[in-house]
Amino acid sequence: MRRFRELVGVATAGLTARKVRTLLIMLGPILGVSAIVAAIGINESSKGHLKAKLQELGTDLIVVNASAGLGFGQDPVIEAAAVARVGRLPDVMAVTGTRQLSDIVTVPFAGAEDYYRAFPVPVIATGPELPDTLEVSMVSGRFLNAFDEASGARVAVIGRDLADEYGYLAGEARTIELNGLEYGVVGVLDWVLLEPSMDSAVFLTFASAVADWDLDDPDPSRLYVRAPTNTAMVAKEIPTVVSLGGPDGANASVPTDLLDAQAQVDESLNNLTKMMGGLALIVGGVGIANVMSISVIQRSSEIGIRRALGHSRGTIAVQFLFEALVVGVFGGILGAMVGAGVVWGVASQRGYTMVLSVAGLAGWALVSVGVAVVAGLYPSSKAARLEPLETLRLG
C-alpha cells in the first residue's frame, strides 16, 4: 500500500512537471472516449425518442394512395366498391377515405383573402370515421356525422392549427367562407401526428363536396386503413384488392415503417461514429506510446539517477506504467464527462429524454485506462532497459 502510494506520488510529480505535454497525451483518450460516449448516448436517446413517437403513432396504420390507371386526364380515385372490399378484409378494423379538393379559397376571417389565396388551406372531403381510423380525438365540438353526410348540410370541421389562427373558441357558433359559401364550423380535430397537413385543413362531407364543388363521384383518392394484426400483409394485399384486375391502381404503405427505416439509418450512422471514436482511442494510444517514448529519452538522466539510488528496473517500469495509468484514468473520466455533456446538449436541443448508462460511462473510461496502459508498456520497458551508466557518464 505504501509502495502504491509512493508510485502514485512519483507518477503524478512526473506528470504535473510537464503539464502541457501531459494534457496533450490525455487529449487522445479524452477525444476517443467522448466520441464513443456521445455516439452511444445520442443514439440511445434518439432511439428512445423514436420509439416513443412510434408508440404514439401506432404501427398499424396503412395509407393507400390511388395511382393513375388507364383513365387519362382524371385524378386517380378509388371507387366506393373497392373501398368496401378493403373494409371487408379480415384484419382491417377501420377504413376512411379522403379526397383533397382543389381550387377552393378558404377565408377564415374577413380581410384575409389575399393571404389565404397565396397560402391555400387544404380542403378535404372525408367520412365520419376519420377520427376513429386515425385514432385522433376532437379538441372541441363533434366530427362530421352520418346525418351531415345524408343531408348534405354545409358543415365543416377544422384542424387544430387552423382553429388557432382563426381564433375559434370552443362552442362558438362560427362560419368559415369557402369560395364565398358559408360553412358552419361544428368541431376542431386534434393534431394528427402522422399527417401534419391536416392540422390546418378544413374537413367536409363527401355529400357537400359533390353538391358544392362539382365532384363527379364521392370517391376518395386516399384511404386510411387501421389493421392492428398482420399489418404488413394487409398492406401488401390492398393494391390487388383495390384493382381486382380493373383500371384503378393503388399504392399502400405503412408510414411508421419510414420512421423505423430512419432509426436504422441513424443506427448505422452512429456505428460509424462509434468506430471513429474507437479509432480516436487507438490513435490516442499510439500518441501515448509515442510521446512517452520521447519522454523516456528526455528523462533518461532521471531514470539513471533513480537506478543509482536503488530503484530496480521493475520499479522504473511500474513508475512509467503508472504515469500511463494516470493519463488513462483522467483521460477516461474527462472524456466520459465531455461525452455526457455533448449528449445532454443534443438531447435538450432536440427535446429528447437523455438516455445514458452510468455503467456504460464507467466501462468506456475503463477501456481508455486499458488502452493507455497497453500503450505505456513499450515506453515502460524501454525505460527499464536503460543502463544507468549510459545516462550518468562518470568521470
Partner: protein, 254 residues
C-alpha cells in the same frame, strides 16, 4: 582549509565494499579492457581517493564499486555478498542501501524540490511518509540546507546543488559514499566546502571514496589509489597530504 587531522582518529573497520579480480571489457568486435583484474577492499572508516589520468579506468571502477555496472569477470562484494550473482531487484535494493552516490554534474531531478530529491533515495523502503520526510530533512540539515528544502535545483547555486546531492547520498545511511569528481563543476571556495563536508562524513561505520583529478582533493584523503591502464599502480596511506606507507597492490600485474 581542509584539516585532515580532524578525521585522523577514525578507526578502520570491516570491509564494506570489495572488488575481487574484477575485469571489465567493453565492446565485442574490438575489445577494450577498461579494467584488468583489479582487487580492492574498502573498509568502514576509510577516506580514500582514486586518482589517475583519463582512460586509466577509474570511472569504470567507480561504476562497478557503485554496482551501476557488472564486471566481465570477477566478483563485487557488498558487505560480503557477491552482487554479480543477484537478480536486478535484489541488486538494486543492495545498491540503494549500501552505496551513496555523488556525481560531478550533481544529477538532481529538476522538477523536484531539494527535499523531493533527497526523498527519492528513500522511496520504496517501507518508510512512512513522515519518516521519509524527517530523514530527508535531517540529511539536508547536515549539509546546512534545511532552510532551503522547498527550493528547486534551478534556484540554487552549484555548491548548494552538490550539497543537496550529498544529502541525498547520506540520507539512506550507506556504508560507503562514492563521489565522482564532486568538485569538478565547482569554484575553489565551494570545492573546499564540499571537501570539508566529505571529510566530516567519514565515521567508524562509513567509508568515503572520491574519484578526482585534483591532487589537492586527493591529498585530503588518508588513502590514495593511483590507476593507470586499467590497473591499480599505487595504494598509499597519507598523513597530512604526505605518503606514509605504500600498501600491497594486490592483483596488479598478475
Amino acid at each position: 582549509m581542509t584539516d585532515p587531522s580532524s578525521t585522523e582518529g577514525v578507526p578502520v573497520g570491516e570491509v564494506v565494499l570489495a572488488l575481487e579480480g574484477v575485469s571489465r571489457v567493453y565492446g565485442t568486435e574490438v575489445e577494450v579492457r577498461a579494467l584488468d583484474d583489479v582487487t580492492l577492499d574498502i573498509r568502514a572508516g576509510e577516506f580514500l581517493s582514486i586518482v589517475g589520468p583519463s582512460g586509466s579506468g577509474k570511472s569504470t571502477m567507480l561504476g562497478l564499486l557503485g554496482v551501476l555496472d557488472l564486471p566481465t569477470e570477477g566478483a563485487i562484494r557488498v558487505r560480503g555478498t557477491d552482487v554479480t550473482r543477484l537478480a536486478d531487484a535484489e541488486r538494486s535494493r543492495l545498491r540503494g542501501e549500501a552505496v551513496g552516490f555523488v556525481f560531478q554534474q550533481f544529477h538532481l531531478i529538476p522538477h523536484l524540490t531539494a527535499l523531493g530529491n533527497v526523498e527519492t533515495a528513500l522511496l520504496y523502503r517501507g518508510l512512512s511518509t513522515r519518516e521519509r520526510r524527517s530523514r530527508a530533512l535531517a540529511a539536508l540539515e547536515q549539509v546546512d540546507l534545511g532552510a532551503r528544502h522547498d527550493h528547486r535545483p534551478v534556484q540554487m547555486s552549484g555548491g548548494e546543488q552538490q550539497r543537496v546531492a550529498i544529502a541525498r547520498a547520506i540520507s539512506t545511511d550507506p556504508g560507503v559514499v562514492l563521489a565522482d569528481e564532486p568538485t569538478g563543476a565547482l569554484d575553489s571556495r565551494n570545492a573546499e566546502n564540499v571537501i570539508q563536508i566529505f571529510a566530516d562524513l567519514q565515521s567508524p561505520e562509513r567509508a568515503v571514496c572520491i574519484v578526482t583529478h585534483d591532487l589537492h582533493v586527493a591529498h585530503s584523503a588518508q588513502r590514495k589509489i593511483s590507476m593507470l591502464d586499467g590497473r591499480i599502480v599505487a595504494d598509499e596511506a597519507l598523513r597530512d597530504g604526505r605518503v606514509v606507507s605504500e600498501g600491497d597492490v594486490v592483483g596488479s600485474g598478475s
